[in-house]
Protein backbone atom coordinates (compact mmCIF):
# COMPACT_ATOMS: atom_id res chain seq x y z
CA UNK A 1 0.00 0.00 0.00
CA UNK A 2 1.48 3.32 -1.00
CA UNK A 3 1.90 6.11 1.55
CA UNK A 4 -0.96 8.58 1.90
CA UNK A 5 1.53 11.40 1.57
CA UNK A 6 5.14 11.34 0.56
CA UNK A 7 6.89 14.68 0.88
CA UNK A 8 10.17 14.83 -0.98
CA UNK A 9 12.67 17.56 -0.15
CA UNK A 10 10.28 20.49 -0.18
CA UNK A 11 11.85 23.91 0.23
CA UNK A 12 9.76 27.08 0.34
CA UNK A 13 11.07 30.63 0.45
CA UNK A 14 9.24 33.92 0.93
CA UNK A 15 11.27 36.74 -0.58
CA UNK A 16 14.79 36.29 0.76
CA UNK A 17 14.47 33.70 3.48
CA UNK A 18 13.47 30.08 3.55
CA UNK A 19 10.54 29.12 5.72
CA UNK A 20 10.89 25.44 5.01
CA UNK A 21 14.11 23.61 4.23
CA UNK A 22 14.25 20.22 2.59
CA UNK A 23 11.20 18.92 4.38
CA UNK A 24 11.21 15.19 3.73
CA UNK A 25 8.87 12.69 5.32
CA UNK A 26 6.15 10.21 4.57
CA UNK A 27 2.85 9.36 6.18
CA UNK A 28 1.43 5.83 5.97
CA UNK A 29 -2.30 5.41 5.32
CA UNK A 30 -4.72 5.18 8.21
CA UNK A 31 -2.70 7.27 10.66
CA UNK A 32 -3.70 10.23 12.76
CA UNK A 33 -0.71 12.49 12.31
CA UNK A 34 0.31 15.57 14.25
CA UNK A 35 2.67 18.13 12.76
CA UNK A 36 4.17 19.82 15.79
CA UNK A 37 6.69 22.62 16.11
CA UNK A 38 7.22 26.14 17.42
CA UNK A 39 5.80 29.36 15.96
CA UNK A 40 7.29 30.15 12.57
CA UNK A 41 8.41 26.56 12.06
CA UNK A 42 6.67 26.50 8.68
CA UNK A 43 3.83 24.16 9.65
CA UNK A 44 1.05 25.97 7.77
CA UNK A 45 3.41 26.70 4.91
CA UNK A 46 4.18 23.00 4.65
CA UNK A 47 0.50 22.18 4.21
CA UNK A 48 0.06 24.93 1.64
CA UNK A 49 3.16 23.87 -0.28
CA UNK A 50 2.04 20.27 -0.36
CA UNK A 51 -1.33 21.35 -1.79
CA UNK A 52 0.28 23.71 -4.35
CA UNK A 53 -1.19 26.80 -2.70
CA UNK A 54 2.22 28.44 -2.37
CA UNK A 55 5.06 28.00 -4.86
CA UNK A 56 7.83 25.58 -3.97
CA UNK A 57 11.45 26.44 -4.54
CA UNK A 58 12.25 22.78 -4.72
CA UNK A 59 10.79 19.35 -4.07
CA UNK A 60 7.45 17.65 -4.57
CA UNK A 61 4.62 15.88 -2.82
CA UNK A 62 3.13 12.55 -3.86
CA UNK A 63 -0.29 11.38 -2.67
CA UNK A 64 -1.19 7.69 -2.69
CA UNK A 65 1.66 7.23 -5.17
CA UNK A 66 0.13 9.76 -7.58
CA UNK A 67 0.50 13.39 -8.58
CA UNK A 68 -1.74 15.84 -6.70
CA UNK A 69 -3.78 16.61 -9.84
CA UNK A 70 -4.99 13.05 -10.13
CA UNK A 71 -6.11 12.67 -6.51
CA UNK A 72 -7.50 16.12 -5.64
CA UNK A 73 -10.97 14.75 -4.99
CA UNK A 74 -9.57 12.35 -2.38
CA UNK A 75 -8.03 15.16 -0.35
CA UNK A 76 -9.92 17.37 2.08
CA UNK A 77 -8.28 20.58 3.28
CA UNK A 78 -9.39 22.53 6.34
CA UNK A 79 -7.68 25.97 6.34
CA UNK A 80 -7.22 28.02 9.49
CA UNK A 81 -10.48 29.47 10.70
CA UNK A 82 -9.03 32.97 10.77
CA UNK A 83 -8.31 33.02 7.05
CA UNK A 84 -11.87 33.53 5.84
CA UNK A 85 -14.32 36.42 6.04
CA UNK A 86 -16.94 35.34 8.58
CA UNK A 87 -19.09 38.35 7.72
CA UNK A 88 -19.64 36.87 4.27
CA UNK A 89 -23.35 36.62 3.40
CA UNK A 90 -23.75 32.88 3.71
CA UNK A 91 -25.22 30.32 6.10
CA UNK A 92 -23.68 27.38 7.94
CA UNK A 93 -25.38 24.90 5.63
CA UNK A 94 -24.17 26.83 2.60
CA UNK A 95 -20.56 26.66 3.79
CA UNK A 96 -20.83 22.92 4.34
CA UNK A 97 -22.31 22.55 0.86
CA UNK A 98 -19.05 24.07 -0.45
CA UNK A 99 -17.48 20.77 0.56
CA UNK A 100 -19.46 19.22 -2.29
CA UNK A 101 -18.20 21.69 -4.92
CA UNK A 102 -15.36 19.39 -5.91
CA UNK A 103 -17.92 16.69 -6.72
CA UNK A 104 -20.42 19.07 -8.30
CA UNK A 105 -17.89 20.33 -10.84
CA UNK A 106 -17.28 23.76 -12.32
CA UNK A 107 -20.21 25.93 -13.45
CA UNK A 108 -22.82 23.57 -12.04
CA UNK A 109 -25.14 24.18 -9.14
CA UNK A 110 -25.14 21.84 -6.13
CA UNK A 111 -28.03 19.40 -6.43
CA UNK A 112 -30.53 18.36 -3.84
CA UNK A 113 -28.57 15.37 -2.63
CA UNK A 114 -25.49 17.57 -2.14
CA UNK A 115 -27.50 19.75 0.24
CA UNK A 116 -28.85 16.68 1.99
CA UNK A 117 -25.35 15.33 2.41
CA UNK A 118 -24.24 18.71 3.80
CA UNK A 119 -27.10 18.70 6.26
CA UNK A 120 -26.20 15.20 7.45
CA UNK A 121 -22.63 16.32 8.07
CA UNK A 122 -23.82 19.32 10.09
CA UNK A 123 -26.04 17.00 12.08
CA UNK A 124 -23.20 14.62 12.76
CA UNK A 125 -21.35 17.49 14.42
CA UNK A 126 -24.40 18.51 16.43
CA UNK A 127 -24.88 21.70 14.42
CA UNK A 128 -28.17 21.03 12.62
CA UNK A 129 -30.09 23.68 14.53
CA UNK A 130 -27.64 26.28 13.21
CA UNK A 131 -27.99 25.29 9.54
CA UNK A 132 -29.72 28.51 8.50
CA UNK A 133 -27.65 30.76 10.77
CA UNK A 134 -25.43 33.42 9.23
CA UNK A 135 -21.89 32.28 9.99
CA UNK A 136 -20.95 35.48 11.84
CA UNK A 137 -23.52 34.61 14.48
CA UNK A 138 -21.74 31.38 15.38
CA UNK A 139 -19.19 31.05 18.16
CA UNK A 140 -15.57 30.21 17.33
CA UNK A 141 -16.08 26.57 18.20
CA UNK A 142 -19.25 26.36 16.13
CA UNK A 143 -17.46 27.94 13.17
CA UNK A 144 -14.74 25.31 13.46
CA UNK A 145 -17.38 22.57 13.52
CA UNK A 146 -18.88 24.04 10.34
CA UNK A 147 -15.44 23.79 8.74
CA UNK A 148 -15.17 20.20 9.91
CA UNK A 149 -18.62 19.36 8.53
CA UNK A 150 -17.51 20.85 5.23
CA UNK A 151 -14.44 18.60 5.21
CA UNK A 152 -16.68 15.67 6.03
CA UNK A 153 -18.96 16.51 3.11
CA UNK A 154 -15.94 16.22 0.84
CA UNK A 155 -15.79 12.49 1.51
CA UNK A 156 -12.02 12.46 1.22
CA UNK A 157 -9.56 9.72 2.15
CA UNK A 158 -6.85 12.12 3.31
CA UNK A 159 -7.64 15.13 5.48
CA UNK A 160 -5.21 17.98 5.94
CA UNK A 161 -6.14 20.34 8.76
CA UNK A 162 -4.48 23.58 9.79
CA UNK A 163 -4.80 24.21 13.53
CA UNK A 164 -8.34 22.92 13.96
CA UNK A 165 -8.04 23.15 17.74
CA UNK A 166 -7.00 26.79 17.84
CA UNK A 167 -9.29 28.83 20.07
CA UNK A 168 -12.16 26.34 20.31
CA UNK A 169 -14.21 25.32 23.35
CA UNK A 170 -13.93 21.93 25.06
CA UNK A 171 -17.08 20.62 23.40
CA UNK A 172 -15.75 21.36 19.94
CA UNK A 173 -12.34 19.92 20.77
CA UNK A 174 -14.03 16.67 21.76
CA UNK A 175 -16.18 16.67 18.62
CA UNK A 176 -13.09 17.13 16.45
CA UNK A 177 -11.24 14.30 18.20
CA UNK A 178 -14.21 11.95 17.88
CA UNK A 179 -14.58 12.73 14.19
CA UNK A 180 -10.87 12.20 13.55
CA UNK A 181 -10.95 8.87 15.35
CA UNK A 182 -13.97 7.82 13.34
CA UNK A 183 -12.14 8.72 10.14
CA UNK A 184 -9.14 6.74 11.29
CA UNK A 185 -11.29 3.68 11.84
CA UNK A 186 -12.47 4.06 8.24
CA UNK A 187 -8.78 3.84 7.32
CA UNK A 188 -8.64 7.51 6.37
CA UNK A 189 -5.48 9.47 7.00
CA UNK A 190 -5.60 12.72 8.96
CA UNK A 191 -2.74 15.20 9.09
CA UNK A 192 -3.15 17.98 11.63
CA UNK A 193 -1.02 21.02 12.37
CA UNK A 194 -1.07 21.23 16.12
CA UNK A 195 0.18 23.74 18.65
CA UNK A 196 -0.44 22.28 22.04
CA UNK A 197 2.23 19.90 23.28
CA UNK A 198 0.10 18.94 26.27
CA UNK A 199 -2.49 17.17 24.18
CA UNK A 200 -0.36 16.17 21.20
CA UNK A 201 0.80 12.90 22.69
CA UNK A 202 -2.72 11.87 23.56
CA UNK A 203 -4.31 12.77 20.20
CA UNK A 204 -1.88 11.48 17.60
CA UNK A 205 -0.42 8.06 16.88
CA UNK A 206 2.09 9.43 14.37
CA UNK A 207 4.06 12.61 14.63
CA UNK A 208 6.25 14.93 12.65
CA UNK A 209 8.39 17.39 14.58
CA UNK A 210 9.09 20.40 12.45
CA UNK A 211 11.26 23.44 12.83
CA UNK A 212 11.94 24.63 9.30
CA UNK A 213 13.25 21.13 8.64
CA UNK A 214 11.92 17.80 9.82
CA UNK A 215 13.51 17.04 13.18
CA UNK A 216 11.85 13.69 13.68
CA UNK A 217 9.06 11.57 12.24
CA UNK A 218 7.40 8.30 13.15
CA UNK A 219 5.12 6.67 15.72
CA UNK A 220 4.36 9.01 18.61
CA UNK A 221 6.03 6.88 21.27
CA UNK A 222 9.30 6.99 19.34
CA UNK A 223 9.17 10.66 18.39
CA UNK A 224 7.63 12.36 21.38
CA UNK A 225 10.69 12.25 23.60
CA UNK A 226 12.25 14.98 25.65
CA UNK A 227 15.46 15.06 23.60
CA UNK A 228 13.67 15.34 20.28
CA UNK A 229 11.29 17.99 21.54
CA UNK A 230 14.26 19.87 22.96
CA UNK A 231 15.86 19.72 19.55
CA UNK A 232 12.67 21.02 17.91
CA UNK A 233 11.86 23.80 20.30
CA UNK A 234 15.37 24.68 21.48
CA UNK A 235 15.37 27.02 24.44
CA UNK A 236 11.64 27.59 24.10
CA UNK A 237 10.79 24.17 25.50
CA UNK A 238 11.54 24.97 29.13
CA UNK A 239 9.28 27.97 28.81
CA UNK A 240 6.59 25.84 27.20
CA UNK A 241 6.74 23.25 29.93
CA UNK A 242 6.43 25.74 32.73
CA UNK A 243 3.69 27.84 31.20
CA UNK A 244 1.76 25.18 29.35
CA UNK A 245 -0.69 24.65 32.18
CA UNK A 246 -2.11 28.12 31.69
CA UNK A 247 -1.75 28.09 27.92
CA UNK A 248 -3.19 24.65 27.34
CA UNK A 249 -6.10 24.53 24.95
CA UNK A 250 -5.55 28.09 23.91
CA UNK A 251 -2.84 28.12 21.27
CA UNK A 252 -2.55 31.32 19.30
Amino acid sequence: MSDALDVQNITVAYQESTVLENADFSVPQGKLVGIVGPNGAGKSTLLKAVLDLVPKLHGRAVFFGEELKKVRSRIGYVPQRGEVDWDFPTSALDVVTMGRYGHVGLFRRPRKHDKEKAYECLKELGMEQYAKRQIRELSGGQQQRVFLARAMAQDASLYIMDEPFAGVDAKTERAIILLMQKWKQENKTIIVVHHDLQTAQEYFDWMILLNKHVVAQGPTEEVFTKEKLQETYGGQLAFLESSSSEKAGNPS
Binding site: K48, L53, I75, P79, P89, T90, S91, F107, Q134
Partner: protein, 343 residues
Protein backbone atom coordinates in the same frame (compact mmCIF):
# COMPACT_ATOMS: atom_id res chain seq x y z
CA UNK B 1 -43.04 68.35 -14.90
CA UNK B 2 -45.11 65.19 -15.24
CA UNK B 3 -46.12 66.27 -18.70
CA UNK B 4 -42.46 66.71 -19.56
CA UNK B 5 -41.80 63.15 -18.51
CA UNK B 6 -44.77 61.76 -20.38
CA UNK B 7 -43.78 63.47 -23.57
CA UNK B 8 -40.23 62.25 -23.07
CA UNK B 9 -41.38 58.67 -22.61
CA UNK B 10 -43.05 59.02 -25.97
CA UNK B 11 -39.63 59.47 -27.52
CA UNK B 12 -38.46 56.09 -28.82
CA UNK B 13 -34.79 57.00 -28.42
CA UNK B 14 -35.18 57.71 -24.72
CA UNK B 15 -37.00 54.44 -24.23
CA UNK B 16 -34.02 52.62 -25.65
CA UNK B 17 -31.65 54.62 -23.51
CA UNK B 18 -33.72 53.77 -20.42
CA UNK B 19 -33.62 50.09 -21.24
CA UNK B 20 -29.86 50.36 -21.71
CA UNK B 21 -29.19 52.13 -18.43
CA UNK B 22 -31.41 49.57 -16.74
CA UNK B 23 -29.19 46.77 -18.01
CA UNK B 24 -26.11 48.77 -17.06
CA UNK B 25 -27.33 49.33 -13.50
CA UNK B 26 -28.31 45.70 -13.18
CA UNK B 27 -24.92 44.38 -14.27
CA UNK B 28 -23.14 46.98 -12.10
CA UNK B 29 -25.06 45.88 -9.03
CA UNK B 30 -24.29 42.22 -9.67
CA UNK B 31 -20.58 42.68 -10.27
CA UNK B 32 -20.45 45.23 -7.46
CA UNK B 33 -21.69 42.64 -4.97
CA UNK B 34 -18.68 40.46 -5.66
CA UNK B 35 -16.30 43.43 -5.73
CA UNK B 36 -17.57 44.63 -2.35
CA UNK B 37 -17.16 41.20 -0.79
CA UNK B 38 -13.66 40.93 -2.25
CA UNK B 39 -13.01 44.17 -0.34
CA UNK B 40 -11.94 45.94 -3.51
CA UNK B 41 -14.41 48.80 -3.57
CA UNK B 42 -11.60 51.21 -4.35
CA UNK B 43 -10.29 49.21 -7.27
CA UNK B 44 -13.35 50.15 -9.31
CA UNK B 45 -12.73 53.77 -8.33
CA UNK B 46 -9.16 53.63 -9.60
CA UNK B 47 -10.21 51.86 -12.76
CA UNK B 48 -12.86 54.41 -13.61
CA UNK B 49 -10.50 57.34 -13.05
CA UNK B 50 -7.81 55.63 -15.07
CA UNK B 51 -10.26 55.32 -17.94
CA UNK B 52 -10.14 59.10 -18.59
CA UNK B 53 -6.74 59.21 -20.33
CA UNK B 54 -7.84 56.14 -22.28
CA UNK B 55 -10.95 57.92 -23.50
CA UNK B 56 -8.87 60.98 -24.48
CA UNK B 57 -6.33 58.89 -26.37
CA UNK B 58 -9.15 57.01 -28.07
CA UNK B 59 -10.54 60.38 -29.18
CA UNK B 60 -7.14 61.58 -30.46
CA UNK B 61 -6.72 58.40 -32.49
CA UNK B 62 -10.18 57.87 -33.92
CA UNK B 63 -12.31 60.89 -33.13
CA UNK B 64 -15.56 60.75 -31.24
CA UNK B 65 -16.41 57.14 -31.95
CA UNK B 66 -17.77 55.23 -28.96
CA UNK B 67 -15.96 51.97 -29.80
CA UNK B 68 -12.63 53.80 -29.88
CA UNK B 69 -13.33 55.65 -26.64
CA UNK B 70 -14.43 52.43 -24.97
CA UNK B 71 -11.37 50.58 -26.15
CA UNK B 72 -9.19 53.31 -24.71
CA UNK B 73 -11.07 53.14 -21.42
CA UNK B 74 -10.79 49.36 -21.24
CA UNK B 75 -7.07 49.34 -22.05
CA UNK B 76 -6.33 51.94 -19.38
CA UNK B 77 -8.61 50.17 -16.93
CA UNK B 78 -6.55 47.04 -17.40
CA UNK B 79 -3.28 48.98 -17.11
CA UNK B 80 -4.42 50.51 -13.83
CA UNK B 81 -5.41 47.10 -12.50
CA UNK B 82 -2.07 45.67 -13.47
CA UNK B 83 -0.29 48.70 -12.00
CA UNK B 84 -2.02 48.27 -8.64
CA UNK B 85 -1.07 44.59 -8.53
CA UNK B 86 2.55 45.26 -9.48
CA UNK B 87 2.99 48.05 -6.94
CA UNK B 88 1.29 46.02 -4.24
CA UNK B 89 3.37 42.93 -4.91
CA UNK B 90 6.78 44.43 -5.49
CA UNK B 91 6.85 47.14 -2.86
CA UNK B 92 5.99 47.28 0.77
CA UNK B 93 3.09 49.62 0.01
CA UNK B 94 -0.38 48.56 1.02
CA UNK B 95 -3.08 48.11 -1.58
CA UNK B 96 -4.95 51.29 -0.72
CA UNK B 97 -1.74 53.27 -1.17
CA UNK B 98 -1.16 51.67 -4.55
CA UNK B 99 -4.74 52.47 -5.53
CA UNK B 100 -4.37 56.10 -4.46
CA UNK B 101 -1.18 56.41 -6.46
CA UNK B 102 -2.58 54.89 -9.64
CA UNK B 103 -5.89 56.75 -9.39
CA UNK B 104 -4.37 60.19 -9.06
CA UNK B 105 -1.62 59.71 -11.60
CA UNK B 106 -3.96 58.48 -14.33
CA UNK B 107 -6.61 61.05 -13.57
CA UNK B 108 -3.97 63.77 -13.70
CA UNK B 109 -2.83 62.49 -17.07
CA UNK B 110 -6.44 62.37 -18.21
CA UNK B 111 -7.13 65.98 -17.25
CA UNK B 112 -3.98 67.15 -19.06
CA UNK B 113 -5.05 65.31 -22.22
CA UNK B 114 -8.64 66.51 -21.90
CA UNK B 115 -7.56 70.15 -21.55
CA UNK B 116 -5.33 69.82 -24.58
CA UNK B 117 -8.19 68.38 -26.61
CA UNK B 118 -10.78 70.95 -25.56
CA UNK B 119 -8.33 73.79 -26.23
CA UNK B 120 -7.65 72.55 -29.73
CA UNK B 121 -9.90 73.81 -32.55
CA UNK B 122 -11.21 70.32 -33.37
CA UNK B 123 -11.75 69.46 -29.79
CA UNK B 124 -13.68 72.31 -28.27
CA UNK B 125 -16.94 71.08 -29.71
CA UNK B 126 -16.09 67.46 -29.06
CA UNK B 127 -18.36 67.20 -26.03
CA UNK B 128 -15.74 64.96 -24.56
CA UNK B 129 -16.22 66.50 -21.14
CA UNK B 130 -19.67 64.91 -21.02
CA UNK B 131 -17.84 61.61 -20.61
CA UNK B 132 -16.65 62.73 -17.21
CA UNK B 133 -20.09 62.95 -15.65
CA UNK B 134 -22.13 61.12 -18.25
CA UNK B 135 -24.98 62.16 -20.50
CA UNK B 136 -27.26 59.23 -21.15
CA UNK B 137 -29.74 61.14 -23.28
CA UNK B 138 -27.04 61.88 -25.84
CA UNK B 139 -26.67 58.21 -26.68
CA UNK B 140 -27.70 57.02 -30.12
CA UNK B 141 -29.14 53.54 -30.70
CA UNK B 142 -25.79 52.00 -31.60
CA UNK B 143 -24.27 53.35 -28.35
CA UNK B 144 -27.16 51.90 -26.37
CA UNK B 145 -26.79 48.61 -28.18
CA UNK B 146 -23.13 48.37 -27.30
CA UNK B 147 -23.62 49.32 -23.65
CA UNK B 148 -26.45 46.84 -23.24
CA UNK B 149 -24.51 44.00 -24.88
CA UNK B 150 -21.59 44.45 -22.51
CA UNK B 151 -23.93 44.66 -19.52
CA UNK B 152 -25.71 41.46 -20.53
CA UNK B 153 -22.40 39.72 -21.17
CA UNK B 154 -21.14 40.65 -17.71
CA UNK B 155 -24.43 39.54 -16.14
CA UNK B 156 -24.12 36.20 -17.91
CA UNK B 157 -20.55 35.81 -16.64
CA UNK B 158 -21.70 36.45 -13.09
CA UNK B 159 -24.42 33.83 -13.40
CA UNK B 160 -21.98 31.31 -14.83
CA UNK B 161 -19.30 31.97 -12.19
CA UNK B 162 -21.65 32.50 -9.25
CA UNK B 163 -20.60 29.47 -7.23
CA UNK B 164 -16.94 29.83 -8.21
CA UNK B 165 -16.64 33.53 -7.31
CA UNK B 166 -18.46 32.91 -4.08
CA UNK B 167 -16.01 30.28 -2.88
CA UNK B 168 -12.91 32.04 -4.22
CA UNK B 169 -13.85 35.21 -2.37
CA UNK B 170 -15.04 33.53 0.83
CA UNK B 171 -12.29 30.95 1.19
CA UNK B 172 -9.58 31.17 -1.48
CA UNK B 173 -7.41 28.53 0.22
CA UNK B 174 -10.19 25.96 0.21
CA UNK B 175 -10.93 26.78 -3.42
CA UNK B 176 -7.25 26.30 -4.20
CA UNK B 177 -7.33 23.01 -2.30
CA UNK B 178 -10.08 21.83 -4.64
CA UNK B 179 -7.66 22.48 -7.47
CA UNK B 180 -9.52 25.51 -8.80
CA UNK B 181 -7.53 28.11 -10.67
CA UNK B 182 -8.15 30.87 -8.17
CA UNK B 183 -6.03 33.40 -10.07
CA UNK B 184 -7.97 32.89 -13.28
CA UNK B 185 -11.31 33.13 -11.49
CA UNK B 186 -10.21 36.35 -9.83
CA UNK B 187 -8.99 37.73 -13.15
CA UNK B 188 -12.32 37.04 -14.82
CA UNK B 189 -14.00 39.04 -12.06
CA UNK B 190 -11.52 41.89 -12.49
CA UNK B 191 -12.06 41.83 -16.22
CA UNK B 192 -15.81 42.07 -15.62
CA UNK B 193 -15.24 45.23 -13.58
CA UNK B 194 -13.18 46.73 -16.40
CA UNK B 195 -15.91 45.86 -18.90
CA UNK B 196 -18.73 47.33 -16.87
CA UNK B 197 -16.79 50.54 -16.14
CA UNK B 198 -16.12 50.79 -19.86
CA UNK B 199 -19.75 50.20 -20.73
CA UNK B 200 -20.89 52.95 -18.39
CA UNK B 201 -18.59 55.79 -19.41
CA UNK B 202 -21.04 57.51 -21.73
CA UNK B 203 -24.24 57.07 -19.75
CA UNK B 204 -22.99 57.53 -16.20
CA UNK B 205 -19.57 59.04 -16.76
CA UNK B 206 -16.08 58.02 -15.90
CA UNK B 207 -15.83 59.48 -12.43
CA UNK B 208 -19.05 58.23 -10.94
CA UNK B 209 -19.29 54.88 -12.65
CA UNK B 210 -17.56 53.17 -9.73
CA UNK B 211 -20.29 54.43 -7.40
CA UNK B 212 -22.92 52.67 -9.50
CA UNK B 213 -20.90 49.49 -9.00
CA UNK B 214 -20.43 49.73 -5.24
CA UNK B 215 -23.38 51.66 -3.79
CA UNK B 216 -26.20 49.28 -4.82
CA UNK B 217 -24.19 46.37 -3.40
CA UNK B 218 -23.62 48.11 -0.06
CA UNK B 219 -27.31 48.96 0.16
CA UNK B 220 -28.31 45.39 -0.71
CA UNK B 221 -25.99 43.93 1.93
CA UNK B 222 -28.09 45.55 4.67
CA UNK B 223 -31.19 43.56 3.78
CA UNK B 224 -29.92 40.02 3.60
CA UNK B 225 -27.40 37.45 4.78
CA UNK B 226 -27.57 35.44 1.58
CA UNK B 227 -25.35 36.10 -1.39
CA UNK B 228 -27.97 35.15 -3.98
CA UNK B 229 -30.52 37.56 -2.52
CA UNK B 230 -27.88 40.26 -2.16
CA UNK B 231 -26.95 39.99 -5.84
CA UNK B 232 -30.58 40.18 -6.94
CA UNK B 233 -31.30 43.17 -4.69
CA UNK B 234 -28.16 44.97 -5.84
CA UNK B 235 -29.14 44.44 -9.46
CA UNK B 236 -32.63 45.86 -8.82
CA UNK B 237 -31.24 48.86 -6.94
CA UNK B 238 -28.65 49.41 -9.68
CA UNK B 239 -31.28 49.21 -12.42
CA UNK B 240 -33.59 51.59 -10.56
CA UNK B 241 -30.77 54.09 -10.01
CA UNK B 242 -29.72 53.91 -13.65
CA UNK B 243 -33.25 54.48 -14.93
CA UNK B 244 -34.02 57.27 -12.44
CA UNK B 245 -30.77 59.07 -13.22
CA UNK B 246 -31.43 58.88 -16.92
CA UNK B 247 -34.99 60.17 -16.58
CA UNK B 248 -34.18 63.11 -14.33
CA UNK B 249 -31.21 64.22 -16.39
CA UNK B 250 -33.25 63.87 -19.58
CA UNK B 251 -35.94 66.23 -18.25
CA UNK B 252 -33.40 68.85 -17.34
CA UNK B 253 -30.78 68.51 -20.03
CA UNK B 254 -28.34 70.55 -17.96
CA UNK B 255 -27.89 67.93 -15.26
CA UNK B 256 -25.46 65.18 -16.17
CA UNK B 257 -26.67 61.61 -15.64
CA UNK B 258 -23.88 60.28 -13.43
CA UNK B 259 -24.48 62.48 -10.39
CA UNK B 260 -28.24 61.80 -10.42
CA UNK B 261 -27.62 58.06 -10.69
CA UNK B 262 -25.24 58.19 -7.75
CA UNK B 263 -27.55 60.34 -5.67
CA UNK B 264 -30.41 57.93 -6.29
CA UNK B 265 -28.32 54.94 -5.30
CA UNK B 266 -27.05 56.78 -2.23
CA UNK B 267 -30.57 57.64 -1.09
CA UNK B 268 -31.43 53.95 -1.30
CA UNK B 269 -28.25 53.12 0.60
CA UNK B 270 -29.14 55.63 3.31
CA UNK B 271 -32.66 54.25 3.66
CA UNK B 272 -31.20 50.75 3.90
CA UNK B 273 -28.67 51.86 6.47
CA UNK B 274 -31.45 53.32 8.59
CA UNK B 275 -34.37 51.00 8.12
CA UNK B 276 -33.14 47.54 7.15
CA UNK B 277 -34.14 44.85 9.62
CA UNK B 278 -31.35 43.42 11.80
CA UNK B 279 -28.43 45.26 10.19
CA UNK B 280 -30.11 48.66 9.94
CA UNK B 281 -29.30 51.37 12.46
CA UNK B 282 -32.88 51.79 13.68
CA UNK B 283 -33.34 48.05 14.24
CA UNK B 284 -30.06 47.92 16.14
CA UNK B 285 -30.90 50.89 18.33
CA UNK B 286 -34.35 49.47 19.09
CA UNK B 287 -32.91 46.03 19.85
CA UNK B 288 -30.39 47.55 22.22
CA UNK B 289 -33.05 49.64 23.93
CA UNK B 290 -35.22 46.62 24.42
CA UNK B 291 -32.30 44.74 25.86
CA UNK B 292 -31.51 47.61 28.23
CA UNK B 293 -35.09 47.76 29.44
CA UNK B 294 -35.22 44.03 30.02
CA UNK B 295 -31.95 44.14 31.88
CA UNK B 296 -33.11 47.00 34.12
CA UNK B 297 -36.31 45.16 34.98
CA UNK B 298 -34.25 42.13 35.94
CA UNK B 299 -32.10 44.33 38.15
CA UNK B 300 -35.19 45.86 39.74
CA UNK B 301 -36.54 42.39 40.53
CA UNK B 302 -33.21 41.29 41.97
CA UNK B 303 -33.04 44.38 44.16
CA UNK B 304 -36.57 43.71 45.36
CA UNK B 305 -35.55 40.20 46.39
CA UNK B 306 -32.50 41.44 48.24
CA UNK B 307 -34.46 43.87 50.41
CA UNK B 308 -36.11 42.35 53.48
CA UNK B 309 -39.79 43.01 54.26
CA UNK B 310 -42.80 42.76 52.00
CA UNK B 311 -44.60 46.06 52.23
CA UNK B 312 -44.58 48.78 49.66
CA UNK B 313 -42.86 50.90 52.29
CA UNK B 314 -39.47 49.51 51.42
CA UNK B 315 -39.20 51.73 48.35
CA UNK B 316 -36.23 53.67 49.67
CA UNK B 317 -34.10 50.70 50.63
CA UNK B 318 -34.99 49.10 47.31
CA UNK B 319 -33.93 52.20 45.40
CA UNK B 320 -30.67 52.23 47.30
CA UNK B 321 -30.03 48.57 46.48
CA UNK B 322 -30.81 49.22 42.81
CA UNK B 323 -28.73 52.38 42.67
CA UNK B 324 -31.07 54.09 40.20
CA UNK B 325 -32.02 57.76 40.04
CA UNK B 326 -35.43 59.00 41.21
CA UNK B 327 -37.22 59.17 37.88
CA UNK B 328 -36.02 55.85 36.64
CA UNK B 329 -36.56 54.17 39.98
CA UNK B 330 -40.15 55.38 40.08
CA UNK B 331 -40.85 53.97 36.64
CA UNK B 332 -39.38 50.61 37.55
CA UNK B 333 -41.20 50.62 40.90
CA UNK B 334 -44.49 51.21 39.10
CA UNK B 335 -43.70 48.41 36.71
CA UNK B 336 -43.07 46.06 39.63
CA UNK B 337 -46.29 47.14 41.22
CA UNK B 338 -48.31 46.78 38.06
CA UNK B 339 -47.02 43.29 37.54
CA UNK B 340 -47.78 42.42 41.14
CA UNK B 341 -44.28 41.53 42.18
CA UNK B 342 -45.29 42.92 45.56
CA UNK B 343 -48.60 43.69 47.18
Amino acid sequence: MIQDWLSLLGSPNLRWVLLGTMFLGMASGIVGSFVLLRKESLVGEAMSHAALPGVCLGFLVAGRELPALMTGAAVFGLISLWGIRVIHRHSKLKQDTAIGLILSVFFGLGIVLLTMITNSPAGNKSGLDSYIFGQAASMVPSDVWMMSSIAILVTAAALLFFKEWKLVIFDPLFAGGLGWKTKTLNSVLSLSIVLIVTAGIQAVGIILMSALIITPAIAARYWTDRLGVMVILASVIGAFSGVTGTLISAVDGGIPTGPVVVLTATVIFFLSFLFAPKRGKLAQVLAHRQFRRRWKKQQALKALGSVPGTAASKYESWQKALGAKNNEAKKLWNWLKKNRYFM
